[in-house]
Symmetry: C2
Subunit: 399 residues, 2 copies
């Protein structure tokens, strides 16, 4: 691979605008870029020519042939380099190497508890990036930028973690600085739900202006897209919906309050409920799994429900209803056009989604739900690394 | 008053930008406009010269004299015309005539129940605008534009009311068309809380990017400012927070659900609670007022609390705690920098505000409340007409 042009920061405003529009569109014909940039045809042509000349873009002539016209489809030049996307969850992390057009070249997953702290986790992340690059016969100099999604609140500007409840030991640690020193490339770090929201926004080619991405996992969080941009709030804490109260008489949460939706409907609560029911002899099926594995996972509960286990089905339904109660509040306040459900539990099947919808439609006002769509986030498991890499590309273009 | 220039729509983009910045700043020196428009000094000077020439601006040379330099303070030209601000509540409406710099020239108030419908209300509004103009010796041709705030959900683009719960009989009625036909001027209609949010934004000279204005009256609603703009949601329903559930075991609301904050903490609920306590013989003070007037108002309850009545104080405190519970959810989700409390009940005194704060700080996450300020909206009762007139000016400049 040839030397990478590192002159992103020196691009003209019109060039940056064109690259950003192309980023959102993916492969795009010139007429589409004229439409979205609102440049004149001659201005766009000259900007595109300059970008091709500098090695940022190429014209693949693919994949659409319309009418008798010469097909043309612009995209980021393949040998521009690669983007690294890292998505860290509570129980493991994903590392992917992607093209500048966000096609995944390689994806690796590792089980590792985030509470082991940065001293244990970060060398593993670094080693996995190196190994994945090597596997693709790439040198670290091929990296354009690195994007990281993490399951904790972060001050976006400084890249520092702030008081991360499920990430003890990470307070004040700079993931950005660590990876920047390791690879000598720009690093962008954001909360996992913002990264998932960006992935959804990219998947939709920025066609939806105001929507939410809700992740249900070890915690519950919400990525917010407002007027086409990720909304982070006045101190970067927006979307921290896991501690919204859905039942004042509910159980005590680790935050000190009662009845938080996270304490009642996220993965640990679901597993706890399943364990209690199983130990009380209410589910022979879950009992069999528990005896085999001496533990239960959320996947086991989903599987048991699919096989007709009433206890598992009840637990999933209850979780969906509670999540829906919380979402009904957000719908009344925010009036989004879409809510996308993400996280492994999103794939619990139609039962979970139906329970969420039932709650939302019952508790929200008619005007807010008239055009509301609630569905599973489109990119599934890959949304994390695609969003993280997307963040890196977008911020590089804007820098 | 001389003929009004009606060429707002023909202004150049740079002229519109300058007028909008001036609108937010109020009186402004040139260096301040250079700072906010980011125009060069020579560009700004030529734009300002053109605007003065066309009769939009004037230089008052007021009110600040800094150093040895000639004082200069630009503002909209006084004889440009007037703006009409109409603020309609559930139980009455305000009409004001303002200068283009949003100084109130005259303000009139009338008691009238909104549920009497447009056939009764709108001729009253029209007559009051005419009378107020006459009182100022102004002709309707002096009107630049008319802004209206209403207590119901509205589709901002069409100006039509959509399914307004406390405005039966208004469904599908066009306030815009009615006033446009009456005065032959552009009319802009928005929900009351958006109008209050715009007033607050104007008062702050647009210094706060992300904040909420919560109005507690017959209903409870929330105006949202997101990235410096009023946020209306994907179908204009954003901020309809009155039906957020604060107690699943709470009383039945007219919306069909249980425990809505509006059904438990807004004015009708407060009055109902006071009546019940009074009839049960728990408050001699309120009983005396009830015997005199044969009804109780929220003002009576506030007054009783000021005079040491424990029942009144308890009711106000409970309402504040419930509103705070709802706001805690919004704070976790939206992470605003400020929450401004509006509506007559906002002036219930420090007790009400203290109860709201107590709930919010107890139930919200630390990162979200670290820099959060909760206080009474600055413009008080006048916020309604100032916001409505501000909407009319802003949309005229942008049109």
């Amino acid at each position: 691979m040839k030397t990478i042009p590192q002159n992103w920061a020196e691009l003209e405003p019109a060039e940056k605008t064109t690259l950003e529009k192309l980023f959102w569109l993916g492969y795009a014909a010139r007429h589409k870029l004229i439409e979205t940039t609102q440049f004149s045809k001659s201005k766009l042509n000259s900007v595109v020519a300059a970008l091709i000349d500098q090695g940022f873009l190429e014209d693949r002539g693919l994949p659409f042939q319309t009418g008798g016209r010469k097909a043309e489809s612009l995209c980021f030049k393949q040998d521009l380099g690669v983007v690294v996307g890292v998505y860290m969850g509570a129980t493991g992390f994903d590392v992917a190497i992607l093209t500048p057009n966000l096609e995944i070249l390689a994806l690796q997953t590792q089980v590792a508890a985030i509470r082991l702290g940065p001293g244990v986790l970060m060398p593993q992340v670094k080693a996995m990036i190196e190994a994945t690059l090597q596997h693709l016969h790439l040198n670290p100099t091929a990296i354009i930028a690195i994007g990281v999604g993490i399951p904790g609140p972060i001050e976006f500007a400084s890249g520092l973690l702030v008081d991360p409840p499920i990430m003890p030991g990470w307070e004040g640690f700079s993931i950005r600085e660590y990876l920047n020193q390791a690879f000598a490339r720009q690093v962008f770090v954001d909360n996992e739900v913002n990264v998932l929201a960006l992935a959804q926004q990219w998947h939709e080619q920025k066609n939806q202006k105001n929507f939410l991405v809700v992740k249900i996992g070890t915690g519950i969080g919400c990525g917010i897209v407002c007027n086409d941009e990720i909304y982070r709030g006045s101190s970067g804490a927006a979307g921290d919906v896991g501690h919204i109260c859905v039942d004042p008489n509910g159980p005590l949460c680790h935050c000190g309050n009662y009845g938080c939706v996270e304490a009642m409907a996220a993965r640990p609560a679901i597993i706890q409920q399943a364990l209690e029911a199983t130990r009380a002899g209410k589910s022979p099926l879950l009992n069999r799994i528990l005896e085999q594995k001496s533990e239960l996972s959320s996947e086991d509960i989903v599987q048991a429900s699919r096989e007709g286990d009433a206890v598992a089905t009840g637990i999933i339904q209850r979780s969906g209803l509670l999540v829906g109660q919380m979402l009904a509040m957000l719908v009344n306040f925010y009036n989004p056009s879409h809510i996308f459900i993400a996280g492994r539990f999103a794939h619990a099947g139609p039962l979970f989604l139906a329970a969420i919808r039932q709650s939302v439609y019952q508790r929200s006002l008619a005007l807010s739900t008239r055009h509301l769509e609630i569905r599973i986030a489109d990119l599934g498991r890959q949304g994390g690394v695609i969003g993280a890499a997307g963040l890196a590309m977008l911020e590089t273009i804007r820098s």
